[in-house]
Symmetry: C2
Subunit: 350 residues, 2 copies
């Protein structure tokens, strides 16, 4: 499945958009529930099927959405589920268990819908680069299109009602995936995280809640969804993100003036290892690419364009690698073929 | 000083001789003392000067030796002392303190004499590869030449009398410098060392007694010098060394059949790091070159000839690097220029 996707960059890794060397992607998720049907966690199978059917109809009725496709999650093989998670089209939670869930993917992957995750519908809009506002506008447009057909549970005082109360209100979670190697290397990151947290934002690892920090990539999102307008939340996230970019750039300047050779050494060694390794894990690749991305940002390595760094990152993920090579493999074999594929990609680039 | 030496490989690193991919070098040292003069540790300065003068005369009288040169150690600057130690022409102990000591270096560095180290004269013969017998013959020839002029302290019962009783008898210490990455990686090395020790041999690190193991290089030498003939000791060392080479080759076969990709990964990564690093210590270079040497032995990397591996090893040592680049440097600067020099050397090779 999804053979048409594997050939092209994921929506969050096209390298387009503002500040895309530091901010990989911007994402907005809206939680929506249809009136008079229980939340998925308590709904009976027939009700869950009804929700899928309702959303499907709403999609078909919208000329904006009907180019995309709805997939019933029970039809999606395990490998493809992992693939969709790596591709940031669904949450890892969505793919655990597969009863009466469905997934909509828009034509360019910038829009997706999770049906019967925690809420009836989770609208996701995703863009490369620092594009929080336009990403919100895209999610908002999808919300409007679906609202033409579906009646969402909305309380004039509380706003949108959601399965988990922490999402009630706007039902919105806006986030950026940001690359902060400078702040990590100068050990300023803890301080920045603590400041960001005080401003009502949450900092998480690569794959969201509870995941480890990988490759110096951090997810920053709004914590509260209640008592503030979508516009206020978006503006606040954008402002803080710009502030963090400035901190990151300052820490890179500090590194460059105080430890130029050590930083360049780190960057070039990463390049050398990627060009040479015969066995390599996805985690190591992510960390080494962090150094290359830093090298590109600092002007140390000009040989490798951002698009190639992003491509290698994506096709190194276990499910992407297997789909890219069209072969299911055990971890050991993956580590060998991943190393081979990366060497090929880097050979043709220089 | 010693500008003519820096341009060419050290005698122990020419890559010539038998099994030189595993046995880097063979060395024989003979301890000799001139009759009726106290050992250096108790001799007065005038007596020590007399010894230097006697040896000098003996060298001049020998057509076999008089192409070399005697240097008074007080005339040798600190950097050059370190250089001579790295070059295995003198012991580290010989270069500590500089009163009334002298050093003779033969035309091809294969012969050297330490005058007034622990004994009046320490004859050293040094060859690349597994050449214990011919190296002993060379040392023996020097001994004979010096004996034509000097009367060495010899007791018909005990043999040669030496400053430290552990050297009395033959006064001989024969050793090989051997590269055993296979036994280290398969964790068989401890077992091999314990067997070798039981056979009356000593296993030491790279720079002899008390030094750390570096780059999987081990020095194996005879422990006893008393009660056995030189020929017996030489034969025993040669036999054990051949046995160890066989163990090493077997462990490489095991590695190749059980962890081919992991070993090749280690080898290629070492190559990648050497080609890419911007800051690198001598210790790291020694360890990475161990992987390249293994790669050459196993046929994994054919691009880098043994001569180049040996050259990089030698000019990476701190004093060699400074003499090679003709510039005294602090460690930080050395690490940067070492990385640069290695990149250049490897670029021209592939």
């Amino acid at each position: 499945m999804f053979e048409e996707l594997i050939k092209k960059p994921a929506a969050w890794l096209t390298g387009e958009g503002k500040n895309s060397e530091i901010v990989l992607s911007s994402r907005v998720r809206l939680a929506r529930n249809i009136s008079s049907i229980p939340f998925p966690s308590v709904a009976i199978p027939e009700e869950r099927e009804k929700i899928i059917s309702f959303v499907n109809k709403a999609v078909q009725k919208s000329s904006f959405l009907n180019g995309g496709k709805v997939h019933n999650s029970s039809e999606i093989p395990k490998l493809d589920k992992d693939f969709l998670v790596e591709r940031h089209l669904v949450s890892p939670e969505f793919m655990r268990g597969s009863n009466n869930k469905a997934l909509y993917i828009g034509e360019e992957e910038k829009i997706s819908l999770m049906i019967n995750e925690e809420d009836h519908v989770r609208i996701q809009a995703l863009n490369s680069g620092l594009e929080i506002k336009s990403t919100f506008e895209l999610a908002d447009k999808v919300d409007t299109e679906l609202s033409n057909t579906l009646e969402f549970n909305f309380d004039p005082d509380f706003g949108y009602l959601t399965s988990c109360p922490t999402n009630a209100g706007t039902g919105m979670r806006a986030s950026v995936l940001i690359h902060l190697p400078g702040l990590v290397l100068t050990k300023e990151i803890e301080n920045v995280i603590s400041q960001v947290t005080k401003l009502g934002l949450t900092v998480r690892g690569f794959y969201g809640e509870g995941s480890d920090v990988l490759g110096n990539l951090f997810q920053i999102s709004n914590q509260t969804t209640l008592g503030k307008s979508e516009e206020d939340l978006i503006e606040s996230l954008e402002k803080v993100t710009n502030q963090i970019i400035e901190y990151e750039n300052n820490s890179r300047k500090t590194l460059y003036s105080e430890a130029k050779e050590q930083i360049e050494d780190k960057i070039w060694r990463a390049f050398g290892i990627l060009r040479s390794a015969r066995v390599i894990t996805s985690t190591e690749v992510t960390n080494l690419l962090s150094a290359l991305r830093l090298g590109l940002g600092m002007g140390t390595i000009k040989e490798i364009p951002l698009g190639l760094i992003n491509q290698i990152l994506l096709i190194s993920f276990p499910a992407h690698l297997q789909k890219y090579l069209n072969k299911e493999m055990e971890p050991n074999e993956r580590d060998i073929l991943r190393a081979e594929l990366i060497r090929e990609k880097l050979k043709s680039s220089i």
